[in-house]
């Protein structure tokens, strides 16, 4: 179903407290953890549900963000926009920490301390480097929503991409975006990795 009514707002207030968004995301992640247990989802199903959530959000956010802008023609323009304007708008962070590309349609966005996962690790004195700790598992839930957000944003800009997220050295994370040259060809599946990476198909 869609519940979308279009672009016009009923209210005049343009901001809410940032606590609202933090509490909401936390509640959503906890709710999905509970659902996952009740409905007996495996981890990759849980991750893909969260990506789906993120993707829907990404499409809508982009709609509002670029309605006055010209179309993006170059792939790199899309990615740069994601790394700056989009990152700033969604996460209140000026831009990502690092962007890599192989110039063949693969881009890797690095964030060394992603805002949505800050509140998880702040309750512990030292972030753990062990990829199997509870913190990392929880962080991945937020990051999967984000991976979906990125995918949705790219989709709204006219391209199909696969987006995966990994944590190899907590709290650093990176998102791998693969954009096939011809949007009409089938999406190439990335091989699964063992240390907490997720698949988006």
């Amino acid at each position: 179903p869609t519940f979308d009514r279009g672009m016009s707002s009923l209210t005049t207030n343009t901001t809410v407290s940032s606590s609202c968004l933090e509490y909401l995301l936390l509640a959503a992640v906890q709710q999905y953890q509970a659902l996952s247990t009740e409905l007996e989802w495996d981890e990759s199903t849980l991750h893909s549900k969260l990506q789906e959530l993120g993707e829907h959000l990404g499409i809508r956010v982009l709609e509002k963000l670029v309605k006055d802008h010209a179309r993006f023609h170059r792939e790199l323009d899309i990615i740069k926009f994601l790394c700056k304007d989009f990152w700033n708008h969604c996460f209140n962070k000026n831009q990502v920490d690092k962007l890599q590309t192989n110039h063949k349609g693969t881009y890797v966005i690095h964030d060394y301390y992603f805002p949505w996962i800050k509140k998880i690790s702040s309750s512990n004195s030292m972030p753990s480097h062990d990829a199997n700790t509870a913190e990392v598992k929880v962080a991945l839930l937020y990051l999967n929503i984000t991976a979906g957000l990125i995918r949705g944003a790219i989709k709204n800009l006219g391209r199909i991409a696969t987006v995966t997220v990994e944590i190899q050295q907590y709290p650093k994370c990176f998102f791998t975006i693969k954009m096939p040259k011809d949007p009409k060809t089938s999406i190439e599946k990335s091989p699964a990795t063992t240390d907490g990476a997720t698949q988006d198909t």
């Binding site: 179903p1 869609t2 519940f3 979308d4 009514r5 279009g6 672009m7 016009s8 707002s9 009923l10 209210t11 005049t12 207030n13 343009t14 901001t15 809410v16 407290s17 940032s18 606590s19 609202c20 968004l21 509490y23 909401l24 995301l25 936390l26 509640a27 959503a28 906890q30 709710q31 659902l35 409905l39 549900k49 789906e52 959530l53 993120g54 829907h56 959000l57 809508r60 956010v61 509002k64 708008h89 969604c90 209140n92």
Partner: protein, 200 residues
């Protein structure tokens, strides 16, 4: 003027106090870190839609939204009490005004208005609930999906942390064609005596 009070049954919170609380709410909101409202309400919308996709049953989605709100309320109360610098409420009407003029304002940037039914029940009207922005319920959900049920849970969860056990339900929604949103809050049990005679 006093004719304003005549509409309500037992409005024991004076206009002066109402204004004082509104002002407190404005100040508290001004001091909060902010995010873009659209981003927040769209995030909420995406969550609701995903829950509908994954759970299916609308009644169960309503319950989940309320449960999510309850978890939020339990956390949010601490931030509320410390940032708004609240003293104890003398009665349930004052609690109501606090929620509408300070709580809602501080977090969502909008103010509710309170109609008290009696000592243990009040209705809070919200004419510009940002969560409703950009939302149109398809026919099969109208009257069935309590889209903003999260707010009921937030109120219930936060009040429970101050020893007030309440029932909180959505009674009107603009998404169903009503003129405003409305939440009914009924006090069921006071878990310990919080109505102290403080000299505020």
């Amino acid at each position: 003027s006093q004719s304003f009070c005549a509409v309500y049954v037992m409005a024991s919170v004076s206009i002066q106090d109402q204004k004082r609380l509104s002002s407190k709410g404005d100040t508290a909101f001004a001091n909060m870190e902010k995010v873009n409202c659209e981003l927040f309400v769209m995030t909420y919308g995406a969550i609701v839609i995903q829950l509908v996709k994954d759970i299916g049953d609308v009644a169960k989605v309503n319950t989940r939204l309320e449960a999510m709100g309850y978890n939020i309320g339990m956390r949010l109360i601490d931030e509320f009490l410390s940032k708004a610098q609240i003293k104890r409420c003398k009665n349930f009407q004052e609690t109501a005004e606090l929620i509408a003029r300070v709580g809602l304002k501080m977090f969502l940037g909008v103010e509710g208005s309170i109609k008290s039914k009696d000592d243990t029940t009040f209705y809070m009207d919200l004419s510009n609930n940002p969560l409703n922005d950009f939302v149109e319920l398809p026919p099969q959900f109208k009257g069935k999906l309590n889209y903003c049920n999260l707010l009921c849970g937030v109120i219930r969860g936060s009040l429970e942390m101050v020893q007030l056990r309440v029932q909180c339900v959505y009674t009107k929604s603009v998404l169903n064609g009503d003129d405003c949103d409305q939440i009914k809050v009924s006090l069921e049990e006071v878990l310990e005596d919080v109505f102290a005679d403080d000299d505020d």
